[in-house]
C-alpha cells in the first residue's frame, strides 16, 4: 500500500496506458470483452482520483503528492509530478469523463480495439498535462494527446472528417510551435525545466537575453505561450478549428474534446502563463479581456446562427470558455486582490462545469443522431411526445449549460462576472449580451427539437433513450445539480489553491 500511496499520480497517469497495452493483446473479435475491459480499466483512475481527493489536504501550501525522478538529466528535465487544488479538479473531471465517454462508445462496432486503445492513450495524455510540474514534461503530454484525438476524428468521425482532423492537428501543432520555441529558450536561459524553480528564476531575470532587453524577450515568449493556449481554449479569433473538429468527431470524442481538451488551454494559462509572466500578463490583460469578450459574444451569436445541432453545441463551447478566459484576464490585471480571487474561482469552477455540461450536451446530440441520422434542427420537431425521458434530460442539461440558477453553470458564471465587474466593467457588461444570447440559442435548439408540431416522419422510428445512455448522463446530471445547490465542496478546494497562488 505504501507504493500506491506514494505513487498515486503515476498510477492514475499510466493505468490507462497499461490498459491500452493489455488491450493490444486481446483478440480482435472479442468486442464485448474489449469494451468491458476498457471501461473497467478507465474506472481504476477514477477510483484512484477519488482516493486522491479524499487524501488531498486543501489547507496545505504548495504542490501535493509530488514525485520526482530523473528523466532527461542532460537538459535538466525530470519526471516531476504534483497537484494543487486546480489540477485536482481537472484530474477528477478527466477521470470522470473518460469512463463515461467509453460507456457512450459501446455502440461503436468498427475496429473497437483500436478505438478503445486510442481513447485510453488519450486519457494519459490529458492527465499528464494536469499533473506535470516540469515544463518539458508538460509539453510532452500537451502534444502527445493530439495523436489519439487526430485518429479518433480521422477514423471514426463524420463525413467531413479528413478536413476536420487535418485542420485540428495542424492548427494545434502550429500553435504549439511558439510554445516549443519559448520552452527551449526558457530552458536555455534558466537552466531548468522544473516549474517550481522556474517560478522563482524566470520571473526575476532582468539582464538582456540574446542582445535584446529581457522585457521584450519575455513579452514575445508570453505571446508564444498565449497563442498556443488560446488556440486550444479556443479564444476568438483562433477558434475556427473547433466547430469543424467537434462536429466531425465521434460522439465520445466530442465529449472529451469539449469536456477536457479545451480545459488544457485554460489550465495552461493558470499553471504557466500567470505564474511565469505576471508582469506581461498584467500588461496585456486588457487585450485578453477583449478577446474573451469577443469569444463570448461571437460564440453565442455563432451558435444561434446554426441549424446543425452539433455545430450549435460546438459554438456554445466558445461562448462558455470565453468566461474562463475573462476571469483569467481579470485576475492577471488585478492579481492579489479579492476580485481576482473571486474571478479565478469562477474561472476554474467554470472549467469544471463546462466539462460536465459540454460533455453532456455532446452526448445528447449523439443519442439523437444515432437514432435519426441527422443533425439538422429543422428535421426534428415536437419530439417531446415521442421521447419524454430524453426530452427531460435534454432540457435539464441545456438549462445547466445556460446558467439557470440552482444548476452548476450559474454559480461559476456568476463568480466570474462578480469578480470581473469591478476590474473590466465594460467587457463584463458586453459579455452580458453574450449571456443573453446563450439563452436564445439554447431555447432555439430546445424549441426546434422538442416542441412545435410533431414531425410525423419520426413516429415509430424514434426509440427512447436506453438504460446504458441514461447511465452515461446520470452522473453528469447529479453533479450539475450537486454543484448548483451546494458548490462549497469543490469551491473550497479551488479557492484555497487560487488564493495561494494569486
Amino acid at each position: 500500500m505504501d507504493f500506491v500511496a506514494s505513487h498515486l499520480l503515476t498510477l492514475i497517469l499510466f493505468t490507462p496506458t497499461l490498459a491500452a497495452l493489455v488491450l493490444l493483446f486481446l483478440p480482435k473479435g472479442e468486442e464485448k470483452l474489449i469494451r468491458w475491459a476498457a471501461l473497467i480499466a478507465s474506472l481504476i483512475p477514477l477510483v484512484l482520483s477519488i482516493v486522491l481527493w479524499v487524501r488531498f489536504d486543501p489547507g496545505a501550501i504548495g504542490f501535493q503528492f509530488q514525485e520526482q525522478v530523473a528523466w532527461y538529466p542532460a537538459i535538466n528535465s525530470s519526471y516531476h509530478l504534483g497537484i494543487d487544488g486546480i489540477s485536482l479538479a481537472m484530474v477528477l473531471l478527466t477521470t470522470l469523463l473518460t469512463p463515461l465517454a467509453i460507456l457512450a462508445s459501446f455502440n461503436i462496432t468498427d475496429r473497437v480495439k483500436a478505438y478503445m486503445i486510442l481513447f485510453l492513450l488519450l486519457e494519459t495524455g490529458m492527465l499528464g498535462v494536469f499533473v506535470s510540474l516540469d515544463l518539458l514534461l508538460f509539453f510532452v503530454f500537451w502534444e502527445i494527446g493530439l495523436v489519439p484525438m487526430y485518429f479518433l476524428i480521422n477514423q471514426w468521425g463524420g463525413a467531413n472528417r479528413n478536413y476536420a482532423s487535418m485542420k485540428f492537428i495542424l492548427y494545434t501543432m502550429a500553435g504549439s510551435l511558439g510554445l516549443l520555441l519559448a520552452t527551449q529558450m526558457i530552458g536555455v536561459v534558466a537552466g531548468t525545466y522544473d516549474l517550481p524553480l522556474l517560478f522563482e528564476r524566470w520571473t526575476v531575470i532582468q539582464v538582456p537575453l540574446f542582445g535584446i532587453p529581457a522585457g521584450t524577450v519575455k513579452a514575445i515568449a508570453f505571446w508564444a505561450f498565449v497563442i498556443a493556449f488560446a488556440i486550444k481554449v479556443p479564444i476568438w479569433p483562433f477558434h475556427t478549428w473547433l466547430p469543424d473538429a467537434h462536429t466531425e468527431a465521434p460522439t465520445a470524442g466530442s465529449m472529451v474534446l469539449a469536456g477536457v481538451l479545451l480545459k488544457l488551454g485554460a489550465y495552461g494559462f493558470l499553471r504557466l502563463v500567470l505564474p511565469l509572466y505576471p508582469v506581461e500578463a498584467k500588461y496585456f490583460a486588457g487585450a485578453l479581456a477583449f478577446l474573451a469578450t469577443m469569444a463570448i459574444i461571437f460564440g453565442a451569436l455563432g451558435a444561434y446562427g446554426q441549424d446543425d445541432f452539433k455545430r450549435l453545441v460546438a459554438y456554445s463551447s466558445i461562448n462558455h470558455m470565453g468566461f474562463v478566459v475573462l476571469g483569467i484576464a481579470a485576475a492577471a490585471w488585478a492579481v492579489g486582490t479579492d476580485n481576482a480571487v473571486i474571478a479565478l474561482n469562477g474561472a476554474v469552477l467554470q472549467m469544471f462545469n463546462h466539462g460536465l455540461s459540454a460533455a453532456g450536451m455532446f452526448f445528447l446530440v449523439g443519442v439523437i443522431y444515432d437514432r435519426t441520422h441527422t443533425r439538422d434542427l429543422n428535421a426534428y420537431g415536437g419530439l417531446f411526445t415521442l421521447v419524454p425521458v430524453y426530452g427531460g434530460i435534454l432540457i435539464f442539461t441545456a438549462m445547466a449549460s445556460m446558467g439557470l440558477p440552482g444548476l452548476n453553470g450559474f454559480v461559476s458564471e456568476f463568480l466570474v462576472v462578480r469578480g470581473t465587474w469591478p476590474i473590466f466593467t465594460l467587457a463584463t457588461a458586453l459579455s452580458m449580451i453574450g449571456l443573453f444570447s446563450t439563452g436564445a440559442y439554447v431555447l432555439k435548439a430546445l424549441k426546434k427539437i422538442l416542441h412545435g408540431p410533431l414531425n410525423e416522419r419520426w413516429v415509430g422510428h424514434l426509440p427512447e433513450i436506453n438504460p446504458r445512455e441514461v447511465l452515461v448522463i446520470a452522473p453528469l446530471m447529479v453533479l450539475m445539480l450537486g454543484i448548483g445547490i451546494w458548490p462549497a465542496w469543490i469551491l473550497d478546494v479551488i479557492n484555497r489553491a487560487v488564493s495561494m497562488w494569486f
Binding site: I75, V147, Q184, M185, G187
Partner: protein, 495 residues
Amino acid sequence: MQFPLLSVIIFIPLVAGVLILFLPADRKTEVRVIALAASVVTLLLSIWAYISYNIDAGGYQFVERVEWLPSLGISYFVGVDGISLPLVLLAGIVVFCGVLVSWGIDDRPREFFAFMMFLATSVFGVFASLDLFALFFFFEIAVFPKYLMIVTWGSPKTREYGGMKLTLYLFIGSVIALVGALAMYFASGLHTFDMIALENAGFSMEFQRFWFPFVFFGFAVLGGIFPFHSWAPDGHVAAPTAISMLLAGVEMKVGAFAALRVAIMLLPEGARQWAWLILILATVNVVYGAFIALIQTDFKYVIGFSSVSHMGLVMLGFAAVAAAGQNARNGLIGAGMQMFSHGVMTALFFAIVGMVYDRTHTRDISRLGGLYRRMPWAAIGFIIGGLVSMGMPGFSGFVAEFPIFMGLWQAAPSYAIIAILGVIITAGYIFRVVGKVFFGELCPEYETLADITPLDKVAVGLLSLAMIALGILPNLMVPLVSSGVDRVLALLGGA
C-alpha cells in the same frame, strides 16, 4: 589478448559476403541464411559493445591497432567512443532489418546479399576508424556495392541516372575531402594518419580556415547538405529497398559522422570560422527539404526529401557547437541522438515504402489508398515513423531534436526560429501521406493484397520499438552520447 570485438563486427559481413559469392548461384536459401546469420551476429555483437562500453571511463574503447604501412604512418587503428558507438549499433540494426525485408529478392540473390554485406563492412569500418587513411579506405569501398546494387536491382526507370548521379556526387565529394586530408597529413609534419595524434597537431589558424570547407563539405555531400543534396532523393528512390534503407539510414550518417570526426574535430578553429555557413545551409536543408517533400507525388520521393530535411538538423547541431562550443553542448548531444533516431526512422520508412511497392507496383500517392485494411502492420509502422519524423514527444525524434534546438538557442536563436518551421511542414507531409496511402478509400484492385510477411513484421517491430524506447527513456543513449560530446568539446577548447 583482448577479444577483437570491433574487427569481428567489421569483418564478419566481409567474410560472409565472400562466402556467399563462392556458393553456386542457385543455392538461394543458403545465400539468405548466411547473410541473415552474419547480420544477426554483427547485431548481437554491436549490442554487446553498446552495453559493455564503460561510460564513466569515456574516450575510445575496444581499441585495436596494427601497423599496416609504417613507413607512411598508416595503421589499421579502430576504436569507438560515445558518438560512434550508437552509429555502430544503428548499422547493426539497419543491416539486420535490411536482410529481413530483402528475403524475397529472387533476382540474383547471391550477388545482392554479397554486395550488401560488403556495404555493411564499409559502414562499420568508417564508424570505427581512428586512422584517417583507414577511414577513407572504408569510405570508398562502399562505392562499388552501392553503384552496382542501384543499377542492377534498382527501379528500372531511373536506376542508371540515379546510380550514376549518386556515385559521381559522392565520389567528387570524397576526393575533395581526401585532398584536405592529405593537406593535413603533410602540414602536421607528424607523418601519421592517426587521427588522435592529428587532433594535437596544432594546425595554424590560416591552414584551418582554408582547408576546413574542403574536408567538411566533401564529407557533408554524403550527409546530404544543401545545395549538394540532390543525389539523395534520386539515389534513394532509384535504389532497391534494402539499399535505400542503408543509404538513407546509415550512409548519410557516415557522411555526417566523417564531417564531424575529420573536419570539426581535427580543424576546430576552421569549424568556428565557417559555422555561419553551415548554419545557413543546414537551415535551408531543414525547411526547404520539408517543403519539397510536401509537394511530391511519388511516395518514395517524400521520404527521400524528408531525409534531406532531417539531416539538416544534424548539421545544425554540429554548427551550433562549432559556433558556441561548451554553451551549445546540447546541440551536439541532439545531433548524435538525431543521427541514430533518423537512421532507424528512415530505414523503417523505406522498408515500408518497399513493402507497399512490392504489392501495388506503384509509388504514385494518388493511386494508393486504404492500405491500412490490407497491411495494418505497415500502416502502424509508418505512422510511428511519421510521429518520430515530426518530432512528436514520446518518440525518439523529440528527444533528439529538442536538444539541437537548445544548442541553437545558444549559438544562433534566429536560426532556431526559422528551423522550427520544418516541424509543422513535416507534420503536413506525413499526415498527407498517411491519409492518402493508408487511409481513405481502398482501391478495388488492392482488395486482395497480401499482408506483410512475418519477417517484415520483425523488422517493422524492431525499428518501431527502438524509437519508442528511446523516446520514453532518452537515458538509454544520452549518457553515452554525452561522454563522446565532451571529447569533441575538449578539442573545440577555449570556445
